[in-house]
């Protein structure tokens, strides 16, 4: 099932902006909603994992798509 209602384009931004923008975007969602983040910062692969484990949001998937990094995060 794909349930992407919200997207965030963080391409071109460097640490820590992808995390800060993600945090802001998630704050505007309801619990259970999913945010899809696209980033070009290779550091965000590990940073997004860490962000989720610290904040309790669920990382549904993460990976490289066409040279960018795409994360699907469900708000907890």
């Amino acid at each position: 099932m794909t349930e992407t209602a919200h997207t965030l384009d963080a391409r071109g931004l460097n640490c820590p902006l992808p995390i800060l923008r993600t945090k802001k975007a998630i704050a505007g969602l309801d619990v259970g909603e999913v945010l899809e983040v696209t980033s070009s910062d290779p550091g965000s692969l590990k940073d997004m994992d860490s962000f989720c484990s610290q904040t309790g949001h669920e990382m549904l998937s993460s990976g490289e798509v066409d040279g960018d990094f795409v994360f699907r995060i469900r708000k907890a």
């Binding site: 931004l13 460097n14 820590p16 902006l17 995390i19 070009s40 910062d41 962000f51 610290q54």
Partner: protein, 201 residues
């Protein structure tokens, strides 16, 4: 061994197991309810050294931590309304001096002049600052003013050193109004004592 002694032994084994389990549960509860916290002491007022405190503070706030930054000595410049931060390779030999634009033979190459010599040129510091800013813009690195704004938005506590204002004869009206308090070491240390992470920059 008598029968009663064996019973006592097995009771105390049960008791220990029960205690261990409760203890683990309580510790887990406590950990789950604990909000991590961090205090940073920011002592430098150059553009390059403004990044660590603001990046770490804004990121920690995004992770849900409580953060306070104590700005002292030159670090107080990071709280001025008019942020005019500079960077210089002088006394900082590890700083790469590369042109982000210009003729192909020069672009992206380390300038072949020692920084101690370069820095004698008038306007050198301004040029170095401009070069750094340009490189950062090209790489999607946020300006300090933006990171500071994000810290304020995320309710990072900005604490200023009272002694420094007196020392350098600063006027408090030169600083942003979001400063939570003007205090001394004795007010900051108790906060640092209970924080999980303490950093000095």
């Amino acid at each position: 061994m008598s029968a009663s002694a064996t019973r006592l032994d097995s009771e105390s084994v049960d008791m220990n197991a029960w205690f261990d389990q409760r203890f683990d549960e309580k510790m887990a509860e406590r950990e789950a309810a604990h909000t991590p916290s961090m205090t940073i002491i920011a002592t430098k007022g150059t553009m390059d050294m403004a990044y660590p405190p603001f990046i770490l503070a804004s990121t920690a706030a995004a992770l849900g931590w409580d953060v306070a930054v104590f700005f002292t000595f030159y670090g107080l410049n990071l709280l001025k309304k008019d942020l005019d931060l500079k960077v210089t390779p002088l006394g900082n030999p590890a700083m790469p001096m590369k042109l982000s634009q210009g003729p192909a033979w020069l672009k992206g190459r380390e300038l072949p002049v020692p920084t101690s010599v370069m820095s004698l040129l008038p306007g050198f510091e301004r040029m170095a600052t401009k070069m750094m800013r340009k490189t950062m813009d090209g790489k999607g690195i946020a300006p300090i003013a933006d990171l500071r704004e994000m810290c304020i938005e995320a309710e990072v506590k900005l604490v200023a050193c009272q002694m420094t204002v007196d020392l350098f004869d600063y006027g408090k009206e030169e600083f942003i109004p979001e400063i939570e308090e003007w205090v001394g070491a004795a007010s900051f240390l108790p906060r640092a004592m209970t924080a999980d992470v303490n950093l000095f920059v």
